[in-house]
Structures are given as C-alpha cells and as structure tokens.
C-alpha cells in the first residue's frame, strides 16, 4: 500500500507547497513552515539551494552596485577616500608598525583626524555616516597600503567591537557609547572566544549572574585572543546567563551580550600576544573578576547573545572582502611592476613568459571576483532587502583563500627578492594567514553555508526529523517530501534567466548547467542522508565550494555585463576575465561534484587520518626500516 502511495505521488508530479492535505498533520505543518521560511530571508544562495535560482536573481543581475550611492553620497565618499588615501600614502609606515608591534601615537591621532574610527556611525553621533558600500571602499584603500595589522586595529574596533551597539543597541546605549568610539576617544573590542570555546561559540563558560538587588550582572571568566583587548575601554562581552527553561520549568544557561566598560572594575588583560602577523594589532587575554555590569548594559535581549554575536560577525564579513581586495591589488601590483622590468634570458622581460602570465592572470581573476562579490553584497546589505549571511560567509572564505594565493604567487614572481623583508610582501603574507582563521574559520563557515542553506530550504527538514520519529504514522510527510524531491529531479527546476553581454551567452549556459547539477546533487544528498548530512563534513565542504563558485560566477558575469554595457575603461578585459573565471569555476565545481558522488576518495582520506590519530602520529615505518 505504501508503495502505491509513492507511485501516485510521483505521477501526480505537481505536489504543491500549500497542500490541502487534511489527513497528515505533519504535512500541514510542513507547508506552513515552508511558506514562512520562503517568505522571510530570501537570498541568492538560499534560492540556489532550493532550485529557485530565478527567485532572487535580480539581487545580483543586473549588477546592482551603480545604484548603491546617490550623487551626494558618491562625492562625500570620494572625499573620504581621498583623505584616507593621502593619509596612508604619507603618514603610516607598515614595516615599522610590524617591527615594533604597535601603532604610533601620531598615526592614531591622524586616524582620528580622518574619522577612521567611526566610518559607519551616523553623523549625529560624531561618525562619518558611511553606508556599507562606503565602508567597503575605505577599507579597500586601507588594505591597498598593506598595513593589515592597522586594518585589524580599526576593524576589530568598529566592524565587530562596537558594531553590536550600532545594530542592536537601544537609543540610550547608542547615545552614550557611539560618540566616544566613533571619534576614537575610546577603543572597542569584541570578546567572545575563550580558551575552550572557539568555533563552538555556544559553549563559552564566562558567567554573568544577576545580583540580589537586580541592578547588576556580575561577570566572571576569561577571554582569549581578543583584538584590542589590551587597549580597549568598551567591550562587547558574551557570557552565560541563567534564564527560565520553558520545557523543564527550571533554569538553563543562555548566552547574553553585554556592553562592558573597563572602568566598571574587575576587568584586566594579559600581555600582548606574539603573533605571526598583524603584529601592529594588539591581541590579549581579557579577565573578568567580579566585574559588575549594570542591567542597562545588556545588549539586545537576555538570552539572545548568540544571535547578537552572529549578527555582528555576519554584518562585518563583507569588510574582509574589501580589505583583502585592496591587499591583493597591492600584492599583484608589485608583481606586475617587477615582471615589467625584470630581464632574464635573451634580454626578455619576464612578463613575456607563459608561467608569469599564468600567475598574473590567475591573480587577476580572483581579485576581480572578490571585488565583484564584495561590492554586490554590501549593496544588498544597504538595500535592506534580502538576506546575505550565506553570501557573506562564502565571500570571506573565497577572499581569504584568494588573498593567500595572490600574495604567495606574487612572492614567487619576485623570486628571491620576494622573500626579503624589505620588499614587504612577506609581511603581507604573514598578515594574511589569520584571515582564514578568525571571524569564523573557513572550515566552519563552509559547513555553515552548506548546512544552513540545506536546512532552510530543505523543505521541512525539521519536520522530517519529527516525522522520522514515527515513520509509519507520518509516512505522508516523508513520502510527500520524497515525492516532491523526485518530482523536481524530473526536470522541474528553475531555468537561469540571466541577461548577459552577447559574448557571454556560452558562459551563462555553463552557469545554468552548474545550477542544475548542483540542485539535483543537493536533492540526492537530502534523500540519501536526510539529517545525517550534517555529519558528512567533507561532502558539506564540497557543496559549499560548489555554491561559492556558482555565486562568484554569477557576480562576475553580472559585473562584466554591466561594464560592457557602459563601456567602462578596461571592459574588454573584464569580458575576458568573465570567460576565464567561468571556466575556472566550472573546473572546481566539477571536481567537487565528483567527490560528492563518489565518496571513496574522501572516505579513504578519513581512514588514513583515523589510523594516524589511533597511533597518535605518522605511523608508517621508514623505507629504511629505522
């Protein structure tokens, strides 16, 4: 009988979302849930995962960045960019900052002068009032001058340090704190990570206990690797607070965000960490010892700290794309200048050699795509419509890996000179390494992208788990789910309808193929693993890489089309890059799909690793036997 039901559902083909199924409660719940999910939080990547590529294609195509700023904002931004550019060109010495592991007083004063501490704070609160697009442009300029340590000093302060107040603070908190931090009178820091809690942010141990009088929370605990930890006055601190547990009627711990002033007392810090890179940025442990925080300083709601933290980190990620775009451009420029002048073999400039062209070309592709995505995401953020957390996370991964590649290859182009301190590339490379680790490790972000997207568009995955508890009674939900998915595989997905320049029609066809294969792959995985997909980390990583490259390709095609229409300077090269990038992305995409479909390689690698962990090390005998 159950098989009969399945067949009926398959042949019916049109299993509607808003089904009027009355017999199976889970079905209705699923439908209601799905409606809710699809109404809220539409984003390009979520649509991609649910096979509805078309649903949010207009977030990215036509390329929206032209509309991001009006004439006045544009002029204002140009002036701020000029001031920033001039400052960094004349008044900052990145090599010295790296050598001394500090930012000199005069530089800090100069940064205050150009408003660098409060770029996104509203003018009324003594900030520069830039939008996200504006902020991205400034941060790109800072990255261009190769002082990422200073960039992090500023970024940890405003992109995450006090961003929570900007996003979730109430009026009193904003008025009280924003002017001081916007002008640089006080420095801010973001204190989440603890010795035993890195990626697993919910497991933090710092506790905040409400005092008898109900006036203050008393903080106890310690944080590690806090940027600006040794110099900040204002901290956004995350701690466990006791809240009521509706399920058990008792209490449970949930994270709450607090605005903590050093002046509250009970807050101390450790010595500056000795790091591989971004040395100019102060990194320190922060200790809370009966630190009393007034209840008015709860940021957001009690118990909503995790959401606050994720919102802050999510909101700041595009900034990394911008900084890294600047740093990549600077690195590549050094390589281009060198290759244009260096002569080797038969009196030829090395720029004429294939292996050098390969490096520069590949660098340019990555810069172009990172830049395209950065400005697109910040435009989407400014427009207020649509979600962007998956795109921002993908950008962070793509940008940090690209930046490492670009700087590393630039060093290669320069040969021995690239290895020398005086050139500065080695410092940039050291600075770049942390970008793949902090603000969400690339590994976690890739899992986040795959699982979040699969979950939210996985059409009631939660309902499915509920249904799985009683498979027989809830067969309707499961078969409905499966039926819908199978129906989709039979060719019922959204076609890509993206308008591009004439020369890119082949590339759009490739993109469409990728989107289709991606969608059917996702379906297959959901059917095969259901909830178990979350434990298939390697597969999730492959999925994330696939979706990132689809997003990147779409951004690149949209950007190149836009430039070709306006015939901006260099648009022909943009079209070239668009073509080259699509091929490059397709290659990576196909590799990853292959590894999803045939899990043998990944499994073997996991087995190798298991053996090594069992033995506690590389467990193979030397070829010599000793």
């Amino acid at each position: 009988k159950s098989q009969h039901n399945m067949l009926r559902l398959i042949t019916r083909k049109k299993h509607r979302k808003t089904t009027k199924c009355t017999r199976f409660t889970p079905c209705r719940t699923y439908a209601a849930q799905h409606k809710e999910t699809s109404a809220a939080k539409v984003s390009f990547m979520r649509s991609l995962y649910s096979g509805k590529f078309q649903e949010s294609i207009d977030y990215v195509s036509p390329y929206p960045v032209d509309t991001a700023l009006d004439a006045e904002q544009r002029e204002h931004l140009e002036m701020v960019v000029d001031a920033t550019d001039k400052f960094f060109a004349t008044s900052n010495d990145p090599a010295a900052n790296d050598k001394n592991s500090s930012v000199p007083e005069e530089v800090t004063e100069g940064l205050k002068d150009i408003g660098a501490f409060g770029l996104q704070v509203p003018e009324e609160l003594e900030g520069v009032g830039l939008t996200n697009v504006g902020y991205a442009r400034i941060v790109e300029t800072i990255g261009k001058y190769g002082d990422l340590g200073l960039g992090i000093y500023l970024g940890a302060h405003q992109s995450i340090g006090f961003k929570g107040i900007l996003l979730d603070g109430n009026e009193e908190q904003k008025k009280k704190y924003l002017p001081d931090v916007a002008t640089g009178r006080k420095i801010a820091a973001f204190a989440l990570t603890e010795p035993s809690s890195g990626s697993d942010a919910n497991s933090i141990k710092t506790k905040a206990v409400l005092n008898e009088a109900g006036t203050h929370y008393v903080l106890n605990g310690s944080k590690i690797w806090i940027s600006n930890g040794g110099i900040a006055e204002i901290f956004t601190v995350f701690a466990q607070t006791e809240v009521d547990d509706p399920k058990t009627g008792g209490k449970k711990d949930k994270v709450t965000a607090f605005i903590v002033e050093r002046s509250f007392g009970g807050l101390t810090h450790g010595p500056p960490e000795d790091k591989m890179g971004i040395k100019a940025s102060n990194t320190a442990e922060v200790f809370f010892n009966n630190c009393e925080v007034p209840v008015e300083n709860v940021l957001g709601e009690v118990g909503s700290g995790f959401k606050v933290a994720m919102r802050i980190l999510n909101n700041g990620r595009f900034g990394m794309g911008a900084a890294l775009t600047g740093a990549m451009k600077a690195s590549m420029q050094i390589a281009v200048d060198h290759a244009s002048n260096r002569v080797q073999f038969l009196g030829n400039k090395i720029k004429s050699y294939g292996l050098i062209k390969e490096k520069i070309g590949n660098m340019a592709l990555r810069i172009y795509a990172t830049e395209a995505m950065t400005y697109m995401i910040s435009t989407i953020m400014d427009s207020g419509k649509g979600d962007y957390e998956l795109e921002a996370a993908s950008l962070k991964v793509f940008a940090s890996e690209s930046a490492w590649y670009v700087c590393d290859e630039s060093i290669q182009v320069l040969g021995g000179m690239g290895f020398m301190k005086e050139l500065g590339l080695e410092r940039i490379l050291r600075d770049l390494r942390i970008f793949r680790i902090f603000e969400g490790t690339n590994d976690i972000l890739q899992l986040f992208v795959a699982l979040t997207a699969l979950k939210s568009t996985g059409d009631g995955l939660k309902v499915l788990t509920d249904a799985m508890k009683n498979p027989v009674g809830n067969f309707g939900a499961i078969s409905g789910f499966v039926g819908k998915k199978i129906g989709k595989s039979f060719g019922m997905y959204d076609k890509v309808n993206m308008k591009v320049h004439d020369s890119l029609t082949g590339e759009v066809a490739e993109l469409e193929k990728m989107a289709m294969v991606f969608h059917t792959t996702c379906e297959g995985l959901l059917i095969k693993y259901k909830m178990g997909i979350k434990d298939q980390q390697q597969i999730c990583k492959h999925l994330a890489i696939c979706s990132t490259h689809i997003f990147a390709t779409t951004s690149v095609l949209a950007r190149a089309t836009n430039s070709a229409e306006k015939q901006t300077h260099g648009y022909e090269n943009e079209l070239n890059m668009a073509k080259a990038f699509t091929t490059f992305a397709k290659d990576i995409f196909e590799q990853n799909v292959k590894l999803i479909k045939d899990t043998k390689v990944d499994e073997n690698i996991a087995n190798v690793a298991d053996d090594i962990f069992k033995e506690g090390g590389y467990n193979v005998q030397s070829p010599l036997g000793f």
Binding site: E75, M79, D82, A83, D113, I114, H569
Partner: protein, 203 residues
C-alpha cells in the same frame, strides 16, 4: 594690513593616475572614469594661502575654480583644508584653454578684489604653465612663478623662484600673482570634521 587672497584651483587628473591617455579625437586627454581632484600645485597654493592666514598676513582665503560641474569636488577640498569661501565658474562640458581660463579669472579678480592671487605653476593634465602668467599680464600685475618660498612684508611680496639657472629672488608690490612650485610647502591633510562641514556648504 590683512590681505584677501584668491587661490585658483583646477580640477585636474590626479597625480597618482598611472597613464594619462589622449582621446581618440586627439583634442584632449581622457577624463571619463579617471580619478580627478585638485591639481597638485594648486593644492600647494591653497596651503600657502592658509599659512599666510595663520601668520596674520591674510584675512580671507577664497578658492575659485573654472571648470565643469565636478570642479565642486576640488572646491570642497579647498574648503575642507580651511578656505573661507569658494567660487565656481561652471564651464559645463566645454574645455577651456589657459587663455580663456585666465580671462574668466580676470573677471573674478575684478569682482573679488584680492591683494594676492595664488595658483599652481601648472596642472598635471595640461602642463601648460600659462594661466598664472597670462592672468598677471591681463591685470597688469607683477608676477613671480615657480615659487619655492613666499614672504609678505609691508605690502611687499618677496618670492624665491626656481629657474633652470638657479634660484632668483624677486620683490613685488601688491597686488601680485604668484604661482606655486614643488618646494613651496607640503599640503596639510584634511580632517574629517572639516570634510563634513565642507560637504554641507552651499555655494
């Protein structure tokens, strides 16, 4: 005696532009999509005017730009540096040669009646080095070009000029025209509060 100083600034191609390209019709340089801003030496002229004000020699610094709508950006920059007011002679899309610019400036001089006119020795895109000299000629004022040093004392302007043959010191009576050379000074960095103020000013 506190002087009114008029500083003429051109909205020109930024010095950091890697390659200045000639338009296909060969009638000028490409400015579309190219970074433009206050011409390098004109900025030095603004700086010098502001220093005269700080020394008490000048009472008012007025910036003027003869150029397209975008020249507003250059004027706002001058205001953000500290100029008291700005005048924009909007030429729209028409490109003017130094002679026409000088004629326009002559009219402004007649209206504003400054005791000193400062400008850069030449602009980065045209590199003409003519406007200041022509203006002085039209006004029948003394001129000192390629200034490396400027001092004002008792209605007399003393300028050390750089020439190919070496340094030359000239003394002139005000009113006079001086064009700024490379070693005259180093322009100040603009501060954000001033940028914000300049943003709001209507001209």
């Amino acid at each position: 005696m506190a002087y009114r100083v008029l500083v003429a600034c051109k909205h020109a191609i930024d010095l950091s532009t890697v390659k200045i390209r000639i338009k296909p019709d060969k009638l000028g340089v490409v400015t579309q999509g190219v970074k433009m801003g206050i011409a390098y030496f004109d900025e030095l002229a603004v700086e010098e005017a502001l220093r005269l004000k700080e020394k008490g020699v000048a009472s008012e610094v007025i910036a003027v730009s003869v150029g397209p709508a975008d020249a507003q950006k250059t004027l706002r920059h001058a205001l953000a540096m500290g100029a008291d007011s700005a005048v924009h002679v909007n030429t729209g899309d028409v490109e003017l040669a130094p002679l026409q610019v000088a004629k326009a400036l002559r009219e402004i001089v007649r209206e504003v009646e400054p005791q000193l006119v400062l400008t850069g020795k030449q602009a980065t895109d045209g590199d003409y080095s003519q406007t200041g000299q022509m203006l002085a000629g039209m006004l029948d004022w003394p001129q000192a070009t390629q200034a490396a040093e400027l001092n004002v004392e008792n209605d007399s302007v003393k300028v050390v000029r750089e020439t190919d043959a070496g340094l030359e010191t000239i003394s002139m009576n005000i009113p006079a025209v001086v064009t700024a050379g490379l070693r005259l000074n180093e322009a100040r960095l603009v501060k954000m509060p001033n940028i914000m103020k300049a943003k709001k000013e209507e001209n």
